[in-house]
Every structure is written in structure tokens, then in C-alpha cells.
């Protein structure tokens, strides 16, 4: 058992190593089954010839409105993206809200309006829901849970276990803006440079490349950021990876703000970014197709998987160093 503390710490929700320990040592240990134990973004349930993708996620972001998005946009995008990276087409979302007594009705209306707008953009309906209200102080304004269901209508089989050495890693754009936008808003840091959350439904982008043969898997980069995601794939597939630091797109404002705050943008959360792992021979086709989509304009090849066991970074000055999973709490409650 690698959990050493007696209580739950904020770091257990960071999406990094502590979260992984918690999931493995408590949830997997007690609830393990073939589907759950794959630990991918969506579960794939098979029934005769039909394959269904299912996922769920809760949203506790503070503040609930931030530049580039809000908890409503987030709760749709997160679930749409989790289903889409599995290769399935999302066909319905559930919406469960836990509201704090005293919340201004107009705030709830704004959130629901944002849910409406985002689900319209993603082309998916909110098909069922639940509402609970709790005493003041028992939750912070509003917590939302969404779940999603999708069908595999084509012969796609994305899984981390498909990843082989030599496979290329492509990202759809600049990393780190969501976590920083939320942090900036929450703490009134006054960071300039127009840092906005990248929250976006990526099912359109994904369906544009989904049928290109040679795609091994996709993963959305949420808590723990880019490097935590690469480590997760690497651990599961039993391969290493090299990421080329200078090829990872980071906007200048995110880069400067991270420097000031002592944060590493490669570990900061995103809500509209995915990595696509693809056979080297198909990398150009995937890249050019992604670049034609509005959420993939800055798509770049950022590295590849290796026969090594570790995830490494080739630094801007040409050295290499280890790039492990994020460890504890970097930024609390960003999604």
C-alpha cells in the first residue's frame, strides 16, 4: 500500500501520483474488474456485437466562472472529450447538480445557458438529470457531475496497450492555459496576456481523424497536464517516451506566467487538449487533418515512444532529463 497519510489530502485530487495511488490502493483494490482496471478515459462495455463507451466526471472548479469558460462549459467538454478519445461517438450526457442553499438563481441560469450552448456546439443532448440542494456551507456554490454514453459505429479500437516504440505523439495545440486561467481568476493574480481556458468539445476534431488507420490511442490532457498523461500511457503500454521540449506549443503568456509562479506548463491542466498516438507512417496525414480543424490549428508532433522505460524530455539546449508524473497538489480545484 503506497498511501501513507491517514487522511485525504488535496494532493489526492491532483490527478498526479497521489491520485493514482488512491485509485489503485482503494478503488481498484476493492472494485476491480476487467473493464474498470483498464483505467482509460472511458470504459468500453461489450454486448454481443455492440460496443458502448461510458464515462463520468465531477466538476468542483472554483471560481465557477473564469476567462474562457465556466463550470457549465467544462462539465460538457470533459465528458464529450472522455468519450471521444475512446473512439466512440457521444450520444447522450447526464447532468447531476448539487447546489448550495442560497445560490443566486441567475447564476444557475447562466451555468445552464452555458451547458446548452456547449452541448449544441458538440451536437449532443442532455438526456437525463438530477438536482439536489444542500445546506449552506456543505458544498461550495455548485458541484456538477456528468456522465456520457457513446457508441462505436466504426471499427476503431483505441487503447494504450496498442502503443509501440517508434509511435509518434501529436498534440492539438498550446498547453497550460486552463489551469492558469482559473488560478489567475481565483487569486486575482492580475496576470496579463489574456490567458483564457481552452475548454472545448473536441468530438469534431477527433471524428475528422478517427478513421485514419494507424492511430493507436488518444488521451485528453486534464489534471496533471501533458506529462502526467504521457506517463500514464507509457506505464500502461510498457514503453518509454521522449518529448521534445521546443516542439510542445506553449503560448508566450502561459510560458511567462508559469515562470513567475514557478509552475511547469507541461503539468498544468487543460480542458481542450488531446494527444494522439499514431504510427509514424501516418503522422503527417493525422497532423495535416488536425490542422484543418479550428481546435487543431496549432497541432504539432511533440515526441515519440521508445523502448526505454522512462518518459524523458529533450531539453531546448539539447540535453535529456527525466519527466515523471506530477506528484502532489499543483493547483487545487481547477476542474
Amino acid at each position: 500500500m503506497s498511501i501513507k497519510s491517514k487522511n485525504i489530502l488535496l494532493g489526492h485530487g491532483s490527478g498526479g501520483k497521489l491520485t493514482n495511488d488512491l485509485i489503485n490502493d482503494i478503488f481498484i483494490k476493492k472494485l476491480s474488474n476487467k473493464i474498470l482496471s483498464t483505467l482509460e478515459d472511458s470504459a468500453v462495455i461489450k454486448n454481443n456485437k455492440t460496443r458502448i463507451a461510458m464515462t463520468t466526471d465531477s466538476y468542483v472548479v472554483d471560481p465557477i466562472f473564469f476567462p474562457g469558460g465556466d463550470i457549465g462549459r467544462l462539465c460538457v467538454c470533459g465528458t464529450v472529450n472522455d468519450i471521444s478519445v475512446s473512439g466512440a461517438t457521444i450520444c447522450g450526457i447526464s447532468l447531476a447538480v448539487i447546489i448550495e442553499e442560497g445560490l443566486d438563481i441567475s447564476i444557475l441560469e447562466r451555468i445552464v445557458e452555458s451547458i446548452k450552448k456547449t452541448s449544441k456546439e458538440a451536437g449532443v443532448g442532455i438526456v437525463t438529470g438530477d438536482t439536489k440542494v444542500v445546506e449552506k456551507g456543505k458544498v461550495d456554490k455548485i458541484f456538477i457531475n456528468t456522465a456520457g454514453v457513446g457508441f462505436f459505429d466504426k471499427d476503431v479500437d483505441f487503447s494504450y496497450k496498442n502503443v509501440k516504440k517508434g509511435d509518434v505523439i501529436i498534440i492539438n495545440g498550446e498547453v497550460g492555459s486552463h489551469g492558469l486561467a482559473v488560478l489567475n481568476e481565483r487569486n486575482n493574480l492580475g496576470l496579463c496576456g489574456d490567458i483564457k481556458s481552452d475548454a472545448a468539445p473536441l468530438n469534431g476534431l477527433i471524428s475528422s481523424i478517427r478513421e485514419i488507420k494507424g492511430i493507436r490511442c488518444m488521451k485528453d490532457l486534464t489534471r496533471g497536464g501533458l506529462l502526467t498523461a504521457i506517463n500514464e500511457i507509457s506505464e500502461f503500454a510498457g514503453v518509454g517516451a521522449v518529448i521534445d521540449e521546443k516542439n510542445v506549443p506553449v503560448s508566450r503568456s502561459v510560458s511567462s506566467a508559469s515562470d513567475v509562479l514557478g509552475l511547469d506548463p507541461f503539468y498544468i491542466a487543460n480542458e481542450g487538449k488531446i494527444v494522439v498516438v499514431v504510427d509514424r507512417k501516418k503522422a503527417d496525414e493525422v497532423l495535416s487533418t488536425m490542422r484543418r480543424h479550428k481546435y487543431g490549428k496549432k497541432a504539432s508532433v511533440i515526441g515519440s515512444f521508445t523502448s526505454d522505460k522512462a518518459v524523458m524530455i529533450r531539453t531546448s539546449i539539447g540535453s535529456t532529463r527525466l519527466a515523471p508524473m506530477a506528484s502532489g497538489e499543483q493547483l487545487p480545484r481547477i476542474c
Binding site: 487522511n7 489530502l9 521546443k246 515562470d259 514557478g262 531546448s316 539546449i317 539539447g318 532529463r321
Partner: protein, 382 residues
């Protein structure tokens, strides 16, 4: 037209991407290898340079500089991480504030996981119901004080000359706005007295210092004149981008090769000879130099701050009568020896086994600027 071009150029000058150019890096690395090898052949020893700034420690590990520059330069991490140099006795003093029910402890995030000698840290105190809040600016702590008039807000004042002016400014704001429930636990440390201690104590061999960039922005280049005069060794004030550090190493090697001593300024785009007058003045107004306790060292004379007479009422230790008691280091932890350049993180028997960022024993593994955290996180081997 000229002005426009100048603006464009000076803007580029501050663009970090030009400070990470791989082709220029390669040229400087060649020069470093060449010079250090020649010095090794002549003197029969590697050139040992100590960086005394946690941001340098991280930048060196993150950019993989050690692996690039060859075997004849020995980069040592010194006492540059403010959380790490805070003595165990002072950590316990901070944790003691949690015993007072009317206190909200406010701190920068790094301090929250440093264990007191009881084994408890501020994050555990928060979990068991204590009011501990992480802030990003001391002014946030003043704001909490204004919003919570029935509590006393204690800000943990840990940091070097870079942090102290912002805390001084927050204290001045509190005074101006008559915020009477805002207090600071003054545990600031000053860099030059620590350098003096390291060189005079001869605890480890130091041929040159890589001097801190941000601290030097505040105190200015002239503050280091004593290194040259008293110890006749070269030192260079460095920026934080990969090329800054490589250039600094190269400048130091040149001086060692020529057997000259001087205080060099690589970080000329930010540091002046005299430093930042506004910051220096506010420090002089709010604080007065005092002896301070450093981890593994004990007292270094005039190496910290207490409040000046006019601002004494902001002293949290005085307000709550919390006295300093010397406490031992965590068992088996080599943080003290590592901070003084006497051991490398990988030489500690706990490193990476019993001591990891998730379950840190000593502060050098807790702080994101600590040498152990940097070595562990970025896989530094030697």
C-alpha cells in the same frame, strides 16, 4: 523608426526563447568543456561552483545542464531554497501558531508540507481542522485580515531579499489602513552573510559562486564586493534561462583559468550595481538586520531581519510570545549537509527510497526549489 526597431529588439531581449537556442548552447558547451579540461590538466582538479538560488537549482536540473557540460565542472547546490534553510526550531515555531484558536496561518505553498519535529506539517494541521491558507501574495493575507476582523492573521515570512520587500510593502499597507490583526513571523534570510559563512567555514571547496539573479536585482552587484576582496575568488551573477547559466559557467571558467577574481554580471538585463533603491529603502524602513538561525548551521550573524522599532507591533512571535528552541534535524536526513555543499542529494541514504516528494522527510525534498526535489524529479544522477 529607430525607436520602433529598438523596442522590437529590447522586447526580444526579454523573450526567453532566445535564451534557449540550441546552436548557441552547443558553442558555449564546447568552450566550457575545453576550458575546464585545460584547467583540470593544469591544476589536477575539477572547478567547483556553487549556486545559491533555488531557481538556479531547478533550472540547472530542468535543462539538463549537468549532463551536457562534461566531467570537469562540479556544480554544487548551496543554501538557495528559502524553505530549506529555515531551521527546524523555526519550523516548529510556525506550527506552534496553530495552537492558538484565534489565528489563521497564511503562507506561500512551499511551506505547507515541511514537517515540524513532531512529524506534523501545516497541511495535516489543515486537515485536522486548523485554519491554514495558502496565499500567492502577502497582500492577500492583509486582505484576509481585513475580511476577518475577529481573527489574527499570521503570515509566514520565509524568503530571501527578493521576498522581504513585498512583505515589507504589505506591512506598510496594513499600517496605513489600520489593519491591526495582521502579523508576520519574520524568518527572512540574507544571502551575502551566508556566502561569507560558507567561504570562511571552508566546509566544502568552492572555487566560485553562481550568484542569484533575483536577489541581485534587489541588492545590486556591489553587495558582493567582499567576495573578491576577502576571498579572492571569482563569482558571476546569473540569469535563469539555460543560456544564462551556461554563459555564467563559461565566464567563471575563464576567470579561474586566468587566475583572476572578479564579480561578473551575466544577468545585466535585470541587475544594476546599486540594486533597487525603492526595495532597499522599504526594507530599511520596516526591518532591521538581526542574527538568524539557518538549518544545520545555527546562527549566522546579521543574516536575517527583525522588525524595526516603528513596526515592532507586527511581529507575530512577539505577539504570541513564541520563543526559539533549538531542535534536531529529522533522523537520517542529510538536508543540512546538502545545503552546505558537503553532500549531493543522491548520497543521502533516504533519497528516493524513504524520502520522495510524496513522503518527504526533509525540506530539500518538499520545496519545489530544493536540491533533492530537483534531483529526484528530473532524474539527476551526479
Amino acid at each position: 523608426m529607430l525607436l520602433k526597431r529598438f523596442m522590437r529588439q529590447s522586447k526580444n531581449y526579454f523573450d526567453s526563447t532566445i535564451w534557449a537556442d540550441p546552436l548557441i548552447a552547443e558553442k558555449i558547451v564546447d568552450s566550457i568543456k575545453n576550458k575546464s579540461e585545460r584547467i583540470y590538466k593544469r591544476d589536477g582538479k575539477r572547478v567547483s561552483m556553487m549556486e545559491v538560488c533555488g531557481t538556479h537549482t531547478m533550472a540547472i536540473a530542468k535543462s539538463g545542464i549537468r549532463a551536457l557540460i562534461g566531467d570537469y565542472v562540479n556544480l554544487i547546490s548551496g543554501p538557495g531554497c528559502p524553505v530549506c534553510v529555515t531551521s527546524q526550531g523555526d519550523i516548529d515555531r510556525i506550527i506552534e501558531f496553530s495552537k492558538f484558536k484565534d489565528v489563521i496561518i497564511t503562507t506561500f505553498g512551499d511551506m505547507i508540507k515541511v514537517k515540524g519535529s513532531s512529524g506534523k506539517d501545516l497541511s495535516e494541521i489543515r486537515v485536522s481542522g486548523g485554519d491554514v491558507r495558502v496565499v500567492y501574495s502577502p497582500l492577500d493575507a492583509v486582505k484576509i485580515a481585513e475580511e476577518t476582523p475577529d481573527k489574527n492573521i499570521v503570515f509566514v515570512g520565509v524568503g530571501f531579499e527578493t521576498t522581504a520587500p513585498t512583505v515589507a510593502a504589505a506591512v506598510k499597507t496594513a499600517k496605513k489602513n489600520n489593519v491591526n490583526n495582521f502579523f508576520v513571523a519574520p524568518l527572512f534570510k540574507l544571502v551575502p552573510p551566508a556566502l561569507d559563512f560558507l567561504l570562511s567555514s571552508k566546509l566544502c571547496e568552492i572555487d566560485a559562486f553562481i550568484l542569484p539573479g533575483h536577489v541581485s536585482v534587489i541588492i545590486g552587484k556591489n553587495a558582493y564586493d567582499f567576495i573578491e576582496k576577502k576571498y579572492q575568488i571569482p563569482s558571476v551573477i546569473s540569469g535563469f534561462e539555460p543560456l544564462d547559466i551556461l554563459r555564467t559557467v563559461d565566464l567563471i571558467l575563464e576567470a579561474v583559468f586566468d587566475r583572476t577574481d572578479f564579480i561578473g554580471l551575466e544577468y545585466s538585463r535585470a541587475v544594476s550595481d546599486e540594486g533597487n533603491r525603492v526595495a532597499i529603502d522599504i526594507l530599511a524602513e520596516v526591518f532591521a538586520p538581526s542574527d538568524a538561525y539557518w538549518r544545520a548551521v545555527g546562527v549566522i550573524r546579521k543574516s536575517g531581519y527583525v522588525f524595526s522599532k516603528d513596526y515592532e507591533k507586527f511581529d507575530a512571535f512577539k505577539k504570541y510570545g513564541i520563543k526559539y528552541v533549538e531542535k534536531p534535524e529529522p533522523k537520517g536526513c542529510a538536508c543540512g549537509r546538502i545545503l552546505l555543499g558537503m553532500a549531493k542529494p543522491s548520497e543521502c541514504s533516504l533519497f528516493g527510497k524513504l524520502c520522495t516528494p510524496e513522503n518527504a522527510v526533509g525540506p530539500c525534498m518538499v520545496s519545489s526549489e530544493g536540491a533533492c526535489a530537483a534531483w529526484y524529479r528530473y532524474g539527476v544522477k551526479k
